[in-house]
């Protein structure tokens, strides 16, 4: 099922661990894949925003050090 491949790609999971979904409607599985992609995108955005807010609060003398530690702070 193409949607299972889509879900495996969206989750990073091995397709074999999703085999129990083989008999489900393809549209439903695709919908789950979409939900996973959306969750991932939200978390990425939330993480980026939170890290940028953090740099605004960290005392100026420490910012360069913190930014270096975080590897640029972009999740």
């Amino acid at each position: 099922m193409a949607a299972l491949d889509e879900l495996a790609g969206a989750t990073g999971l091995d397709r074999s661990s999703l085999a129990f979904l083989e008999d489900d409607d393809e549209h439903d599985v695709a919908s789950l894949a979409e939900a996973v992609r959306a969750a991932r995108a939200r978390r990425d955005a939330e993480l980026r925003a939170a890290v940028e807010r953090a740099f605004g609060v960290v005392p100026r003398p420490l910012r360069a050090r913190i930014r270096k530690l975080l590897g640029g702070g972009r999740g």
Binding site: L21, D28, A35, A39, A50, V51, R53, A54, G56, L69
Partner: protein, 353 residues
């Protein structure tokens, strides 16, 4: 009897993915264990790309005094991000930090904290603080979050939390949503009889008997038998409702073995439940018993009934579902001494050669 366990898992998955509506409803037909494995794998997969950053943030937290780190956490990072970093903290560091974070913030943080990933951190939190967060979650009626932490909080916090969760209906919801069956059993062992009975009574009053039956199926033998014994002692109305719901859910395969181990007097009361006189309910029992091969258990239950009732049920079953009756008769024949039961004789007579 996996439907409600699967429903609970789909609810947790919705929470994890931030999904509303019926988008994931199709998953309820699957085994709860498969859904749980999927959810755990998804949680890990969603966190994996960011874990290096969370680990660096956790490392950076050690460079600053705890009050400063807590201020940054609360004012800049927010509860969601903090919940991800928390899982990477050294438990000793976490213990220092929680003292500087306000309880409402910690409660917000718990909503997105992965208890599995942060188990060591959670257990390191001082009991007073953990209970305070639990009180706040309960005040908000955020029972789903409370349930997620039942599995990992230090056991000495649980009796205090049970005092806080004073509503038996809420306790039922928490118990059904909790993942760890071992911990659930330990919790029920801590409850006095009136609260255990209160959970089932509350379920009956609020149309949540399905949840109560699933809960009974999840408890260990001893606690399930205790709960059923308390229901029996409370009178026929609650017992009748419970028996009817077990039949509706097809839960006899899980609960009949529990009942078969009850005190004979208690089992006799279960066997005398008017609900079992209803042909469709007894048929449900018979089907579950045949499917699960519960010969000794059905013999114990039916054997606790008066002979005339046994005969009536046997004839009714043979007439309405001869195939099931035949399989049941064959199963009963394998149990030593069972062929002398009035029901067994009546089945043989009704089914013929």
């Amino acid at each position: 009897m996996a439907d409600l366990a699967a429903l609970a898992e789909v609810g947790r998955l919705r929470h994890e993915l931030g999904v509303d509506g019926d988008q994931l409803d199709f998953l309820v037909r699957h085994d709860a264990a498969d859904l749980r494995a999927l959810r755990h794998a998804l949680t890990d997969a969603l966190a994996a790309p960011h874990r290096p950053a969370f680990q660096r943030m956790a490392a950076a937290a050690r460079l600053l005094p705890a009050p400063v780190t807590a201020t940054i956490a609360a004012k800049a990072l927010g509860p969601f991000l903090c919940s991800k970093v928390a899982a990477e903290l050294d438990p000793t560091e976490a213990r220092k930090l929680v003292g500087h974070l306000r309880v409402p913030f910690l409660a917000d943080l718990c909503r997105t904290l992965d208890p599995r990933a942060a188990a060591d951190v959670i257990r390191a939190i001082p009991a007073e603080r953990a209970v305070a967060v639990g009180v706040e979650l309960y005040r908000r009626r955020d029972l789903e979050t409370l349930a997620r932490f039942i599995d990992v909080v230090a056991e000495d916090t649980i009796p205090r939390m049970l005092d806080v969760v004073d509503d038996d209906g809420c306790l039922l919801e928490i118990a059904v949503a909790a993942e760890s069956r071992l911990r659930l059993d330990a919790i029920f062992a801590m409850l006095p009889d009136d609260r255990v009975l209160g959970v089932v009574e509350s379920a009956a009053l609020s149309d949540q008997l399905t949840e109560a039956v699933v809960l009974l199926g999840e408890l260990g033998q001893e606690q399930a038998a205790r709960a059923i014994g308390l229901v029996v002692g409370s009178g026929h109305v609650l017992l009748t409702d419970l028996v009817a719901e077990i039949s509706r859910l097809g839960g006899w395969d899980e609960l009949l073995p529990v009942m078969a181990g009850l005190d004979p007097d208690v089992l006799a009361t279960v066997a005398s439940s008017p609900a079992l006189d209803r042909p469709e309910l007894f048929l449900a029992v018979a089907r579950d018993v045949v499917d699960a091969g519960l010969g000794p258990e059905i013999v114990a239950l039916v054997g606790a009934m008066p002979d005339d009732r046994q005969e009536q049920l046997a004839r009714s079953l043979a007439g309405s579902a001869p195939q099931v009756a035949r399989h049941l008769a064959e199963l009963v024949e394998t149990v030593t001494g069972a062929s002398d039961l009035a029901a067994a004789r009546a089945l043989r007579e009704a089914l013929g050669p």
